[in-house]
Amino acid sequence: MAVAEDTQEETKTLQQQAGAPAQQEPWIPTVIAEDLHIVYRVYGGAKGKGSATAALNRIVRRKPGGGSVREVHAVKGVSFTAYRGQAVGLIGSNGSGKSTLLRAIAGLLPAESGRVYTNGQPSLLGVNAALMNDLTGERNVVLGGLAMGMSRDEVAERYQGIVDFSGINEKGDFITLPMRTYSSGMSARLRFSIAAAKDHDVLMIDEALATGDKKFQRRSEQRVRELREEAGTVFLVSHNNKSIRDTCERTLWLEKGELVHDGPTEEVLKEYEKFTGK
């Protein structure tokens, strides 16, 4: 593609201002959301799901198309474009559609209308994303690596790195215990370590950095920075404005499923803090 000389110059200065890592090919889009709408359909959300008579009633009186379906319009017409090497924060009050948006980008939720285009397969890393609790941490590392598409050799090569990163073995040999014996902080750390072991084109983190102790938080923020330098795009959902400030240069603010503000982190956070009355 032909880009004018002066445009490239301009791009470089802009990046230096924003503190973005140096890129060979600037401004390559990795995620494009186009007027994205997401609607959840909740069956039997009205009332009396548990009682047998109510269930029978629903089956007998079912109107064509189903009578008791409730629709929840969780994301309403969000459009944005994220670029290579960007870290994008997502903020908004509880239930504003942040996690839903992430899951749609990851391709785990279908869009009602609109589309999401992504570069490669985005990976979503959530706090509740349990691996296999009845298996040992060791097995989880191997299986997680294989499931992400690593070869056996790659898994063996990175195994020690993953375990060291998670810090599971700092207080004894815990990696050979089943994951159900882990504390919630420990399993969240192991999950993050497994998912972060691969270089993702697009990585989405749903409040995972909030778990774990100070030391682990620092390590994971460091890893997020590395992933960005490897030309990935990172999305971060958090209620911790500090970790958004530390990691992201761009922030999207969602409220009631709508994109209220999209801009540099400082600018958006200032308004958000005014809104939340902090």
Binding site: T7, A20, I32, A104, Y117, R139, M148, P264
Partner: protein
């Protein structure tokens, strides 16, 4: 809303470029972006699945060891459970209800006949039952990581195959104990197992898709499977029972005998048991075994793939 913010941002949006005139779809095409969560083509899906073969094997092995990790006897239960079942059936159906009469090769063949039947049916039964929970029971994994979802039901049926191979050791011991020594016909278990494995995998795939939509199936399936078990002659010889005791019409006997569980059990018994001759097999039994395997195996795979982008939602 987004229109107004576009101009104001500094440092997070690119400067004006020719790209701005492109529609999102064209922009995506230009940089090789694809629609997120779209279903791959069938050929591409098979290729992805092949790339995850190590995961499938490792997953089934891990599940196999984890299955009894809470039990003190551990892996012993893999063999003990079907054996205990066979013991119960022996007393109820063999002794009390007289199911032994009409066993091919004479009544002394009843115990090998019964144990083979129980092990072979258990193979299909657990594949179907666990298939229902293949997606819904691994939601954490499905939501956290991206991999072709068919890996899960396939590894479940692979897990059951491994379990059956362990049980085979006990089965062989019982067969030898009853005077059935290895002959060349034992080699016929391999094509039989291949067909049954194909069939089971297809069933697991079908049930996984149905079970991911309708969790109620986990409650319903045990009853359907029990009916299937009684209807397939696991603990009594099917043909004599239907024809001589129930006086069923010939076409009904043919239909019941053509059901896949009965076909696979017949073939395994034919391979293993001395007195079980080809005269005891229903007509076209090999063609039926292969047909069921291919039909359900391939059909189930396509059926599962059709819904690939919708697993793990909600």
């Amino acid at each position: 809303m987004t229109e107004t913010t576009h101009g104001g941002a500094v440092g997070v949006k690119p400067p004006p470029t020719p790209d701005d005139r492109l529609s999102p779809a064209d922009l995506a095409a230009k940089y090789g972006l694809s629609v997120s969560g779209a279903r791959p083509s069938l050929a591409e899906y098979v290729r992805q699945l092949w790339a995850r073969r190590h995961f499938i094997v490792a997953f089934s092995r891990a599940k196999l060891t984890a299955q009894y990790s809470q039990a003190k006897l551990g892996q012993l239960w893999q063999v003990a459970t079907p054996l205990l079942n066979a013991t119960v059936y022996f007393f109820i159906f063999g002794l009390l209800l007289g199911g032994r009469s009409g066993t091919p090769g004479g009544e002394q063949n009843y115990i090998p006949f019964l144990v083979t039947g129980v092990f072979v049916f258990t193979f299909t039964q657990t594949s179907v039952l666990n298939g229902v929970r293949a997606i819904s029971g691994n939601l954490g994994l499905v939501r956290a990581l991206h991999f072709p979802r068919a890996s899960l039901p396939i590894s479940i049926s692979l897990q059951q195959l491994q379990q059956l191979l362990y049980s085979m050791i006990v089965l062989v011991a019982i067969l030898v104990g009853f005077g059935h020594f290895p002959t060349w016909s034992w080699l016929l278990i391999f094509p039989t197992l291949a067909c049954q494995f194909l069939f089971n995998t297809g069933m697991a795939l079908i049930m996984a898709r149905l079970g991911s939509k309708t969790p109620d199936l986990a409650q319903l399936m045990p009853f359907i499977l029990r009916t299937w078990m009684y209807g397939s002659g696991v603990m009594f010889p099917l043909e004599p029972m239907l024809r001589d005791r129930a006086h069923a019409p010939g076409w009904l006997v043919d239909i019941v005998q053509a059901n896949p569980a009965a076909v696979f059990m017949d073939l395994m018994r034919f391979s293993f048991i001395d007195g079980y001759t080809s005269a005891d097999l229903p007509p076209h039994v090999w063609a039926l075994a292969l047909g069921w395997g291919l039909l359900i195996g391939i059909g189930g795979f396509v059926f599962f793939w059709k819904s690939e982008e919708r697993y793990g939602r909600g």
